[in-house]
Subunit: 158 residues, 2 copies
DNA sequence: GCAATAATGATAATGAGTCTCATTTATAAT
DNA sequence: ATTATAAATGAGACTCATTATCATTATTGC
């Protein structure tokens, strides 16, 4: 066989997998097919996914392995965990793989959507956050900003 | 006896309790001594508290009742729940009782501290968030912003 | 005071996430 | 290639924060 991959490896996914491989290797981890599939599932979605979402997309992945791998990938900086409180955590690709953005969190159904802010706003925000962090002797790593409210779907259900 | 309260009821706490009473009454709930104690515990701390924190401060409160009352108070808009992912949720008084602020979340020990941003930054942020929400047909209720990093205490442990 | 109703608290139940461990798979060395 | 070494897998047991249950107790309206 030549290359009967289900999804043709476009340039983007090549870059992505190269990046993931490097991050994993740096920490003496292997880029197994299970992890590959997990990354593909996350990359294939425009929204952050829960564990049931992931298993629904890739039913042959074992839940326990997915949880373990999400943790490994999170520590390597490949995956970001979003804990909005209601039930399951959500997961998405981390910042170098997905550009910096924030979330619209629906308080009704728990779904999460991505949004991006203007660079100038983001920059101003960062400056001020660094200021207040310094005042508190706090060493900042990253910031999270989310907007809670009602998503379009849940507004219709009224 | 006249007024042998442990903490003398200053003006602030009178206001606070009047506010809580109104919010509870509006929803046909009673402002019992247990709920009073819970509000006092939250009001007496400069940081958001976990359930173990609360029970440590007021050991005569039953955990199950505290959880139940936190939920009731949350729905009445008196308490705000903060879920940072690591173990216990944190709780603090909600916005009308505590001025608008954000959080420094320590990724090592999980402690949460309050920070306030300049009004102008906050306003600009709100404007932009409303804009992107409108674009996504999303009805915003509130925003959360937190800075993750290492708190002063945990930096010393290196 | 006397219903009617809500709150309490001890305990059981839930469920998302983690741990275990025997088996499988991938890397490294010879 | 073959083996030796180490990591990954997957099924299920387990944890533990949070919720639900329910009999008892407290509070409010009449």
């Amino acid at each position: 066989m030549e290359k009967p991959t289900a999804s043709p490896p476009d340039e983007q996914s090549l870059d992505r997998h190269a990046f993931v491989l490097e991050r994993l290797s740096n920490d003496n981890h292997r880029y197994t097919t299970g992890r590959h599939r997990l990354v593909d599932a996350l990359a294939g979605s425009s929204k952050p996914l829960t564990l049931p979402d992931i298993v629904a997309i890739a039913p042959d992945l074992a839940a326990s392995s997915v949880y373990r791998n999400l943790e490994v990938l999170e520590q390597c900086g490949v995956v970001k965990r979003i804990t909005s409180g209601s039930g399951h955590a959500h997961f998405e690709l981390a910042e170098p793989l997905l550009s910096h953005h924030h979330h619209l969190v629906c308080v009704d159904c728990g779904e999460i959507e991505d949004v991006r802010l203007d660079d100038e706003v983001e920059e101003l925000l960062d400056q001020h956050l660094n200021m207040v962090a310094t005042d508190a002797s706090f060493k900042p790593l990253r910031h999270n900003l989310d907007l809670q409210g009602h998503c379009e779907k849940c507004q219709d259900l009224l």
